[in-house]
């Protein structure tokens, strides 16, 4: 009976499953956070208005070209191939034997960064032009406009897409088993390799993946609602009216 086997495999190997799940979650979390930061920085750079002439124009054009190439390459090739090329490429070209976990963080981060920079750019473009104009009109420069007015609004708008990236990363870290990162897929493969119960072992893995992605989705929903802000506000100097009257305790 395979159900008995599922129980048996889990009770015998749960530390390995849990450690694998932990590493999967860690890679996905760090990759998404660093990727989002890369995306924000690139998004801000790519929306700097290009001056009509001068050195600054040439420099900006050059940086934008480099960033476009980065985005095209990492969006246009599979992460499993990027993992192989970067991990083994580093070994051959520079003789660097990367720590596997570090390599995993690196690969997921720059891959996510490529997607996130497009998400951020879209987020910035979706902000009403009037917000930029109002910020410029009170004398803010591009960076001040971005950090004080635009990005806080962009962050809220791109949260669903960022959550999506996080969920994708939880699943896609499984491809890192090709460079022997001991995440959940790799752990499950080892377990199944020992007991030859492939269906049962991977069934457990799939349940764990589903629990992780489902939990993350719920948490992000909650965050979105939080960021919406309160529906109501109090009038200043009017708070006393909504205070609960205090009952004196010394009767």
């Amino acid at each position: 009976m395979s159900f008995d086997w599922i129980i048996k495999i889990f009770t015998e190997n749960w530390p390995m499953f849990i450690r694998g799940a932990g590493i999967t979650l860690l890679i996905a979390l760090i990759g998404t956070i660093i990727g989002a930061m890369i995306g924000l920085i690139i998004g801000v750079i790519r929306t700097i208005p290009i001056p009509e002439k001068g050195m600054k124009r040439a420099l900006l054009k050059f940086i934008n070209a480099i960033l476009s190439i980065y985005i095209e390459i990492f969006r246009g090739t599979p992460m499993i191939v990027q993992a192989m090329v970067i991990y083994y490429g580093m070994a051959i070209a520079f003789g660097i034997d990367m720590d596997r976990l570090l390599a995993a963080f690196f690969i997921v981060s720059i891959n996510t960064g490529a997607y996130m920079s497009e998400i951020v750019r879209g987020g910035i473009l979706s902000i009403d032009k009037g917000q930029f104009e109002a910020a410029h009109a009170i004398g803010m420069n591009h960076l001040q406009t971005m950090t004080n007015v635009v990005l806080p609004q962009v962050l809220r708008n791109i949260l669903p897409a960022t959550g999506n990236e996080f969920v994708i990363n939880i699943k896609d870290t499984s491809v890192l088993n090709v460079i022997s990162v001991s995440e959940l897929f790799f752990a499950t493969k080892s377990i199944a390799g020992n007991n030859f119960k492939y269906f049962e072992s991977f069934f457990i893995a799939s349940v764990i993946y589903l629990i992780m992605t489902f939990t993350v989705t719920r948490i992000l929903r909650y965050l979105e609602r939080k960021l919406e802000g309160p529906e109501n506000y109090n009038l200043a100097g009017n708070q006393m009216q909504v205070d609960t009257p205090k009952i004196p305790s010394n009767h």
């Binding site: 009109a137 009170i138 803010m140």
Partner: protein, 247 residues
Amino acid sequence: METMITVQHLSKSFGTHEVLKDINFSVKKGEVVSIIGSSGSGKSTLLRCINLLEKPTGGEIIYKGENILDDKHNVNQYRTKLGMVFQQFNLFNNHDVLNNCMVGQVKVLKRSKEEAQKLAMKYLKVVGMDQYIHAKPKHLSGGQKQRVAIARALCMEPDVMLFDEPTSALDPEMVGEVLKVMKELAESGLTMLVVTHEMEFAREVSDRVVFMDKGVIAEEGIPEQIFNHPTQERTREFLKRTLKQNI
């Protein structure tokens, strides 16, 4: 009286379309100037050129003896001297009312939080919005938003206030509350440049009226002259059209 801003031979084209042609005029300290004219006459573009939200194609804008269109001139610093009020309010959606009035003071003028808050409260009181400091823009009506936007601009303590059709996006019953605030500001001696469709405001509040038509200043003078004895045929035409609508 001291001249605040002088515009000389200003022109602006979008592609081959010439929106402003050889504009010359100036605003003196303490003066309230209304710019009137039909839609598409270039009024808003002129105002937006003055604080460089649109880059003029030619001409000069002289502020305190300097041509601010010079490449070496610091645009951001110049803009802090001009308060801008937009047709669409453009309050910062991520900040509450108080912060809308503080963020520019703290981040651009580097004032302390305490000082910024004091000034914000002062000007929010002027526009009658000091009770709403904790409200977000989404909570406010159009008229309330515009009054906060005026306070936000005043907080920077600008030399000149620019109003770009400040009541055009408002429901009719809210136009009054904004015009009232603007009238009080005008009486307090603030230098104001107002693009408006409110003929009554232009006539009663302004010291001088500029009538624009097809990208040029067709006529300018004191309200009495423009409204009662216009010398140009097209001014008469425009006034006949708009004043009839208002009845």
